[in-house]
């Protein structure tokens, strides 16, 4: 059996470190902890982690900076822990290479789900990519550019498909407005979030049973969107 995944937790709250060390240790993860940004970066360099859990408000470096410096040499998934008053830092960290976020206080089920998604993505990055993604009645075939709902092909415009394909290829991860606009529309429209809003509405109309209360194409308020795929 392979070694248990290594999770590095960087947070300045000793109680959070204690809780996560106990809970994640119990779930058979190998857990290391750091209470400062510099210390966390040094630990990550000494013993490369499989997932990093990073608090956005650290006493020495900002979480955003830790993200940026980690990304210079590591592709390990980063899950941001944020409080309600650090919304903007959270989005900045996601734009700088963080993969996901959780707002404190969070349930441990949510955290474990995010860790699973992160590990799956890290593994997928090394193996050939899955080209068919399913979410309930919806399947997205990235290679053949075919989208079906309940087995019936759904006609999408070129932009709608590019948007859905980008979301589906990053299924279960939060994608910020900025990263979606840059990938799907390219630089000129990078600050025209209204394009994204309108095309998301069109996608939901074509793919969701109740577009007003979507099940698969979820809004992350103030951050971006997340495509929820079947596990």
């Amino acid at each position: 059996m392979s070694a248990p995944p290594h999770i590095l937790v960087i947070d300045d709250e000793p109680q959070i470190l204690r809780a996560l060390r106990t809970i994640l240790g119990e779930k058979k993860f190998h857990v290391t902890t750091a209470s400062r940004g510099e210390e966390g970066l040094a630990l990550a360099a000494a013993q490369p982690p499989d997932v990093v859990i990073l608090d956005i408000g650290l006493p020495d470096l900002s979480g955003i900076e830790v993200c940026a410096r980690l990304r210079e040499w590591s592709q390990a998934p980063i899950i941001i822990l944020s409080a309600r008053d650090s919304e903007r830092d959270k989005v900045a960290a996601l734009d700088r290479g963080a993969d996901d976020y959780l707002t404190k206080p969070f349930g441990i089920e949510e955290l474990l789900a995010r860790i699973r998604v992160a590990l799956r993505h890290a593994a997928r990055a090394q193996s050939p990519r899955a080209t068919v993604i399913t979410a309930g009645p919806v399947t997205v075939d990235l290679a053949r550019h075919i989208v079906t709902r309940d087995g019936v092909e759904v006609k999408l415009t070129a932009t709608e498909f590019r948007l859905l394909a980008y979301l589906a290829a990053n299924a279960d991860r939060v994608l910020t407005h900025q990263s979606i606009l840059a990938h799907v529309w390219g630089a000129p429209q990078a600050d025209q979030v209204e394009y994204l809003r309108v095309y998301m509405r069109q996608l939901r109309k074509k793919l969701e049973a109740d577009p007003g209360q979507p099940q698969y194409l979820l809004t992350e308020p103030g951050v971006g969107y997340r495509f929820v795929a079947d596990e």
């Binding site: 309600r84 008053d85 919304e87 903007r88 206080p105 349930g107 006609k155 415009t157 070129a158 932009t159 709608e160 025209q192 979030v193 209204e194 394009y195 809003r197 309108v198 095309y199 998301m200 509405r201 939901r204 109309k205 109740d210 577009p211 007003g212 209360q213 979507p214 979820l218 809004t219 992350e220 308020p221 103030g222």
Partner: protein, 491 residues
């Protein structure tokens, strides 16, 4: 004074000629009456032109009149007639008296004239000062006062260039008022520089440049008087500002105490349940059934969520109170935001049915999605608390006119007495002091704060079959209408 002005010298000769003319007229009259008048009366009557000329045309004319009168008196009325010979000491005395009268009268008149001119100047200054202080009394801010002071001073002194420079004072930055505003900075040193001094120290200075007429001592006096009025007004404005700040602080203090008393109670209630549940579970004395265990754990989870909402509400409220809510606007779709809210609340909404009626052609709205998400969450949270659990909550949006979007969150909950419909948006206001319903009484006032920060309005109303919150949002953002996203051409 006018006597020293060069224009006066031009009238000198004319004055003397006029004085001599008056003497001549009197002489002619007296010569006709010579036989009927005593010599002493004639001498007395000759004082008339002397005094008159002095009073009217000044000392030089007076002396000329005195000499003219002396010679005329001597020539026409003192024997031997028609000769200028002065034989007696008495005649010399007459001449001295004439000259003495001329000098005396000129002195009195001169002094009276000078004091009249001074009085008029003072009256003018007093009037200008009065107008200045009347203007300043109406002004409340430092910058307005600086502007008014410069304006009045510029007019009163007839300056070429006037500058009022106010120092930075911790609250406000440095400021320079220059009149006329389009004038370039002066190349030469100002003719007058007067510091603006108050009880709080040196507030700045006034600088004045004069071209014509040249700067005079009286200007300086006026300048000082104006500047001290300005200093008083600035001092008063600063005191008013300080009072306002302390009132705001006081209000803040009152809010904080109200908040603390409400919050300490609200915090302790969930903490008490959590503590009770956790210590029960940790105690080895009771062998809890798995159902009871699950119940207790569920309670702990619900109570921590409640605590979290409470802390979030307090944060929002303190931002609203501090006036720190600046919506980060983007063009948003209301349905998109509401979908996010409903997803986020899924765990607390349970099996509650939601009906969302947002038309597809509703335009994009310029809002801060995080703030609007919070508004939806609070309004829905309120409906969840008060409306019966098996009834739906309906959210509708429509466009009542070109410039506005209106949103309504409707439930089948109980009515609120109509006189309390407005008060439910007040901080800490609770309609039902029900034990079943928990909350801080902050949720709705946060909604009001956020909607008003967007330039909208929120109200509550009783419906025939329930209760509704309605809010409006303006569609224009900095004068821009909602953008139209072009449809994809390549289907």
């Amino acid at each position: 004074m006018p006597s020293s002005s060069p224009s006066y010298a031009r009238f000198w000769r004319g004055d003397i000629a006029l004085a001599l003319l008056v003497v001549g007229v009197i002489t002619a009259g007296l010569v006709l009456l010579r036989d009927r008048l005593s010599i002493s009366l004639i001498a007395l009557l000759y004082l008339l032109p002397v005094g008159l000329s002095t009073a009217q045309w000044g000392l030089a004319a007076g002396v000329a009149a005195a000499l003219g009168a002396f010679f005329a008196f001597n020539f026409f009325f003192i024997a031997p007639y028609y000769s200028l010979s002065v034989h007696q000491a008495q005649d010399l005395l007459v001449l001295v008296v004439f000259l003495g009268v001329a000098i005396f009268v000129s002195q009195i008149v001169g002094r009276a004239r000078a004091s009249l001119a001074a009085a008029q100047a003072r009256e003018r200054e007093a009037l200008q000062l009065y107008e200045l202080s009347a203007t300043l009394a109406r002004l409340r801010t430092r910058d307005e006062i600086g502007q008014a002071l410069a304006q009045r001073l510029h007019e009163a002194i007839q300056a070429a260039l006037t500058e009022v420079a106010l120092r930075a004072d911790g609250q406000q930055p440095e400021r320079l008022v220059r009149l006329p505003p389009e004038a370039p900075p002066a190349a030469t040193a100002p003719h007058f520089v007067v510091p603006i001094l108050s009880g709080r120290g040196d507030l700045g200075e006034v600088r004045v440049w004069r071209v014509t007429p040249p700067p005079a001592e009286s200007d300086k006096r006026l300048l000082r008087a104006f500047t001290s009025q300005g200093a008083l007004a600035l001092e008063r404005a600063a005191l008013e500002q300080a009072e306002l700040r302390s009132k705001v602080l006081e209000e803040g203090d009152r809010l904080k105490s109200a908040l603390l008393s409400s919050v300490s109670h609200e915090l302790r209630t969930p903490l008490a349940s959590i503590k009770a549940a956790v210590t029960s579970l940790a105690s080895g004395e009771v062998d809890w059934s798995s159902r009871a265990r699950a119940d207790l754990l569920k309670m702990v989870e619900e109570e921590t969520d409640h605590l979290n909402r409470l802390v979030g509400n307090l944060l929002d409220m303190s931002r609203i109170e501090a006036g720190a809510v600046e919506p980060q606007r983007q063009w948003n779709l209301l349905g998109d935001i509401l979908g996010g809210t409903l997803n986020r609340l899924r765990r607390t909404t349970g099996r509650r049915q939601f009906v969302v009626q947002i038309p597809d052609d509703l335009p994009l709205v310029p809002v801060d999605s995080a703030l609007l998400d919070q508004v939806f969450a609070n309004l829905i949270g309120n409906s969840l608390k008060y409306a019966p659990p098996d009834t739906p909550i309906t959210v509708t949006a429509w466009q009542p006119d070109e410039a506005t979007v209106q949103v309504q969150v409707r439930n089948q909950g109980p009515h609120v007495p109509s006189e309390q419909l407005e008060r439910i948006f007040d901080r800490f206001y609770r309609v039902y002091a029900s034990e079943r319903v928990t909350g801080t009484g902050l949720g709705l006032s946060i909604c009001k704060g956020f909607i008003e920060a967007h330039g909208g309005r929120i109200w509550a109303e009783n419906l025939p079959d329930g209760f509704a919150f309605t809010f409006t949002l303006p569609l224009a953002w900095d004068g821009h209408r909602p953008p139209q996203v072009p449809p994809d051409a390549d289907l």
